[in-house]
């Protein structure tokens, strides 16, 4: 269910590491909890993000959730798909509906992230 090539956080974000960059998104669990997503608020290119701090929000009709940066770095790309089609986040949260791509500032931070198996256990336990 949760792709092995991604790493995960307790706040339900995923990361795909690629050398000194990383792609960030929210997990299937997150999008389920949120319900129909209507809007995504992402940082602009060049903005610095810090591990554990909010980098933006995801909105459903009745709720807003912060997206916490799993790693620190600088935003180098934002997914253009989500401005017009936020529903993609419900449809394909691990693939097409990635949120941002960052250049890592402290790659060692990635060691703290969970594997797919660990995340699976974590959300199982949360219930």
């Amino acid at each position: 269910m949760y792709p092995d090539n991604l790493r995960y956080t307790k706040e339900h974000e995923w990361v795909r590491l690629d050398g000194d960059t990383a792609v960030i998104g929210i997990t299937d669990h997150a999008q389920q909890e949120l319900g129909d997503i209507v809007y995504v608020d992402l940082p602009k290119q060049g903005v610095a993000v810090e591990q554990g701090k909010s980098l933006g929000t995801v909105e459903s009709v009745k709720a807003v959730s912060d997206i916490y940066a799993p790693l620190s770095g600088e935003v180098i790309e934002i997914n253009p798909l989500l401005a017009d089609a936020p529903e993609k986040l419900n449809e394909d949260p691990h693939g097409e509906a990635w949120l941002v791509k960052i250049r890592l500032r402290a790659p060692a931070e990635a060691e703290k992230l969970m594997s797919a198996a660990e995340y699976q256990t974590y959300i199982g336990a949360e219930k």
Binding site: D36, V38, Y39, E59, S60, V61, K62
Partner: protein, 492 residues
């Protein structure tokens, strides 16, 4: 017997712009008794507009039919009960409307010389005094335009008082059950918000409070009874803890309907509170406003009240602007006077004994509903109920039906829904406040509806999930509306 709603005659009324046709008029203006002024000369061509594109053009008949037809699509108190927790949807006496419209009151300009506004000032003075007596506080301002503005006003005053003592402090404690305006107002007042949990009885956790009140804390913002409809039995102790550490107790007075003539916030340790005249004091909601949010305070906060203050000079009233410590103004002019008139009319109509009876009846009605429904819906907190009761949708959730859907099905039975999913500390909350207005007959109808819906949840959940079925407008797709917002009409 199922008493369901049967739809009646209904018009598909378009928007006023879609009704318009060029040249139609509904207005009348007298002929000018002075020469006309040429706009281009008087204002300059660079400042003058051409026509107001696409503005309505309808006749008087079309106008009145338009609004009358649209009005029939609304539910209202004058149709039936609104069991909305925390809103106190009581009857809005029509006499309020009559007195507020008296020419001598409605047409008074705020900058009228004081000698010609004594009647209005007397009304405000009388209302201030009445509210001070009802709440057990020392001084009242009628300036804030709404509850949320009242909250902000009070917090700014608290900040000013603490600043005058040397340290405004940094944060405000807010229970996790609080209304959303509380933290929002705190943020505008420049305070950080720290949440404080409720205990198993649904009340403020005193131990948690004692730990949380540090030198950094300016105030605790409490609602009493709280949003669970439960009286904070430790409130006197809480006030002592706060005061001992130089902090203040603010009360959100939204639930004042449970306290009139029974308990006064000023007596149980509150330093400042706001009231919602559109809740406890019967002024009409009007589809979303206007309201008014007077603030009542103890003497220590009096110097910081917004300007101007009403002052008596001999037998006359005057506006006092010379108040060095005032936080300033929170709105232009003096207050939502038209709303204040309505609230005073309500207070005059009931008097002391009448207001106490209002509270007794409100609490009686809520307890009746609690007893009748606690076998059917999960009651998360066993503490005694005041004027509102909160259930959870736990039992119905097992059948895949949630509070929002039950609420929609209630519409098919001829009621407005209760407050859905608030307070947040209850899973799938159903927050119900009947108010004193409802008769036993109406309450029994409501109980019957809620009971039948609970049965439907078990036997025929789909009918609940797809509700409402009997309304002219069926379930509105709010998701699509939020994804691609269309916030105005445009010609095709």
């Amino acid at each position: 017997m199922r008493s369901r709603v049967r739809p009646n005659i209904s018009f598909n009324e378009p928007l006023i712009f879609e009704r318009s046709s060029p040249g139609k008029v509904a207005y009348q203006l007298p002929e000018l008794d002075v020469p006309a002024a040429d706009p281009l000369a008087a204002l300059g061509p660079e400042n003058t507009r051409s026509e107001i594109e696409d503005f309505p053009e309808v006749s008087e008949v079309e106008a009145i039919r338009h609004y009358t037809r649209l009005s029939t699509w609304n539910y209202a108190i004058e149709y039936g009960m609104y069991p909305l927790g925390s809103c106190t949807m009581k009857y809005n006496p029509r006499i309020n409307e009559l007195v507020a419209r008296l020419d001598g009151l409605a047409l008074t300009h705020p900058y009228r010389p004081e000698a010609l506004a004594q009647g209005s000032m007397e009304i405000m003075a009388r209302l201030q005094a009445s509210l001070a007596e009802i709440t057990g506080m020392d001084a009242v301002t009628l300036q804030p335009a709404a509850g949320a503005q009242g909250e902000l006003t009070a917090l700014l005053m608290i900040r000013a008082l603490l600043a005058s003592r040397g340290n405004p402090r940094r944060k405000v404690l807010i229970p996790d059950s609080a209304h959303g305006t509380n933290p929002a107002s705190a943020a505008i007042a420049g305070y950080a918000v720290q949440n404080i949990k409720s205990n198993d009885a649904g009340m403020l956790d005193i131990a948690a409070l004692e730990q949380s009140v540090t030198e950094d804390v300016a105030a605790l913002m409490v609602t009493n009874p709280n949003t669970l409809g439960i009286f904070e039995e430790n409130i006197v102790h809480a006030a002592e803890v706060l005061h001992a550490r130089g902090a203040l107790l603010y009360m959100d007075g939204a639930n004042m309907n449970a306290l009139m003539g029974i308990a006064r916030p000023g007596d149980f340790g509150v330093d400042a509170l706001h009231l919602n005249l559109h809740k406890t004091f019967s002024t009409p909601h009007g589809g979303g406003g206007p309201g008014a949010g007077p603030v009542a305070v103890k003497q220590s906060l009096e110097p910081f009240l917004p300007i101007p203050r009403l002052r008596s000079v001999g037998k006359k009233w005057a506006w006092d602007y010379e108040r060095r410590h005032s936080i300033g103004r929170v709105r232009a002019f003096y207050g939502s006077f038209g709303v204040l008139v309505r609230a005073l009319a309500y207070i005059l109509a009931h008097g002391g004994p009448g207001l106490r009876k209002v509270t007794l009846d409100a609490v009686l009605n809520a307890n009746y509903l609690r007893k009748k429904l606690e076998g059917v819906y999960e009651l998360p907190y066993q503490s005694p109920t005041m004027h509102e009761v909160v259930f959870s949708d736990d039992r119905q959730a097992r059948h895949g039906v949630r509070t929002g859907e039950i609420a929609k099905r209630l519409i098919d039975y001829g009621f407005h829904p209760y407050t859905v999913s608030f307070p947040l500390i209850v899973r799938g909350a159903l927050m119900i406040e009947p108010t004193e207005t409802e008769t036993k007959h109406e309450l029994d109808r409501y109980v019957e509806a809620m009971t039948q819906i609970a049965e439907e949840v078990e036997n025929d959940p789909e009918i609940v999930k797809g509700a409402p079925h009997e309304t002219r407008t069926s379930r509105v797709d709010e998701v699509a509306a939020a994804r691609k917002p269309v916030l105005r009409w445009k010609p095709v």
